[in-house]
Assembly symmetry: C2
Homo-oligomer: 290 residues x 2
């Protein structure tokens, strides 16, 4: 298939690479051309704009940063929708705004194209190993059309509902991650404050009812003083903002999410937006004077 791929950051680069490796013809565009070079070296072709990448393609995919970037790549003067045509598949993989996803789907439908919102979880490693969970919003027909491509990128593919439902599912994921991070950091802070050996505590508690992905994967990094980003604080706070807005719009009262958003805002004010989400533990430790 002829595929357009826009956005070749850490995640997008792996994804576009898998599509190339699967034998597809891939045209890429991204804000900073240098970031596309490894893909161009591997056989992808360069396009000067999102529209140029998508023009004539069977499918156009985007994996960018913020909803405003998605809006630009799809609805901008050189965006996907300028060249969308009947039968074409358009997929946004960015974690973005459910309301925007519904707008994109409606505008794509007006041109006879199928649009899906398909945000992912699994991080850079999931993208690299093609083990992502991909949460899809759109029509069953669009999902069926996209499935062979998505199967190249991830292993858990679920249609969550109509346009926007993929984004809402990803936000539900982030709601769980948010209080999950509070759980991890408070257990570590409690251990430190009460004089326990946190590594021994993790050994005792990680395998039981307190167990979580974060406790197994992020807590050990905290103990090593490793705050390098798996997932960046600044991306997480974006997601928390989207989740808060969606919760408010739907009447859900989520005090744990509000608390996490408040704590991560403090992390950003401390200048740690470019570190990994596990740096929240350092905020707790600093309050202990430890």
């Amino acid at each position: 298939m002829r595929i357009a791929f826009v956005g070749t950051g850490v995640m997008g680069r792996s994804m576009a690479g898998h599509l190339l490796a699967a034998g597809h013809e891939v045209r890429v565009h991204t804000r900073t051309r240098a970031k596309a070079e490894p893909l161009l070296a591997a056989g992808a072709r360069w396009a000067e704009t999102s529209a140029a990448a998508a023009d004539g393609a069977d499918a156009a995919l985007s994996m960018v940063g913020h909803p405003s970037d998605v809006d630009e790549v799809w609805r901008g003067p050189s965006g996907f929708l300028r060249v969308a045509r009947p039968g074409q598949l358009l997929v946004d993989l960015t974690t973005s705004d459910p309301a925007l996803a519904r707008v994109l789907a409606a505008e794509a439908a007006a041109k006879g194209a199928e649009a899906l919102d398909a945000p992912v979880s699994g991080g850079d490693r999931g993208a690299r190993e093609a083990t992502l969970s991909i949460m899809v919003g759109g029509s069953p027909a669009g999902f069926a059309q996209a499935r062979p491509l998505l199967a190249v990128l991830g292993k858990t593919l679920v249609l969550q509902g109509g346009p926007g439902a993929g984004q809402l599912c990803k936000l539900a994921n982030q709601v769980a991650v948010a209080s999950g991070m509070v759980a991890v950091c408070e257990a570590l802070a409690f251990a430190r404050a009460t004089g326990l050996d946190a590594a021994a505590v993790l050994e005792s508690i990680s395998g039981g009812a307190a167990g979580s992905w974060g406790l197994s994967n992020l807590a050990p990094r905290v103990l090593k003083g490793d705050f390098a980003p798996g997932f960046h604080v600044r991306h997480f706070t974006k997601d928390l903002g989207l989740a808060l807005a969606a919760a408010q719009a739907s009447g859900a009262e989520l005090p744990g999410l509000r608390l996490a958003a408040r704590l991560y805002a403090e992390v950003e004010r401390a200048g740690d937006a470019d570190l990994g989400t596990q740096v929240l533990a350092r905020l707790y430790f600093s309050r202990l004077g430890a």
Copy 2:
């Protein structure tokens, strides 16, 4: 070995049963004799008091409800400490107060006995299958002495530090569980409020960064409307109270723990203290009018 076991509720019954099955001579005492009958039928002997059970035993173990019960079983007029003697091993398996554990250890030491605090996690199932995580506070010598007995009851045995450290570790576990439950319930509430199919959401999010024991084990029960206790709300609120007190005493500022304690107090006020901790989800749903 001659072993005293006091407290034959759901957890204690399984534990005492394993000790019997391992060939030990077990004397049991519990508040309501009827609860000990299955053990007596299996070969345990009845003792009229905790002291009578412990008198002459190589080791005396307790698994009761609240710190006040532990205090009675150990320090009461017919308690373990009345008959404690040099070389005897005393072990409290109850989730209890770290400060009380230190008092018990000091009073046991004054009689030449070794006392350990050794609360467990893993629930009724972990007790039944002898897969508990046992978090031990006490001396290395006491831990070495107890290890063969504890290995009959659980599979993760870690000495966390001196007297009280086992209790503190268990409370660290409960701190993580507390915000972990908020994470699970808020993800479900978000899914419901935004019109998603919560089962499909769990399929997408349980295997990734949002994954946790609660999401895999309790969220599916919530979706089936199953609020039967694995772990009772009333026991959890006891533990949260102990954790809050220990956090305050050590200067740890844990807003997630405070939030969870506030929410579970609401669950108790709603009359749900005897249901399982997953009933917190119902509090969230009721606020959605759903």
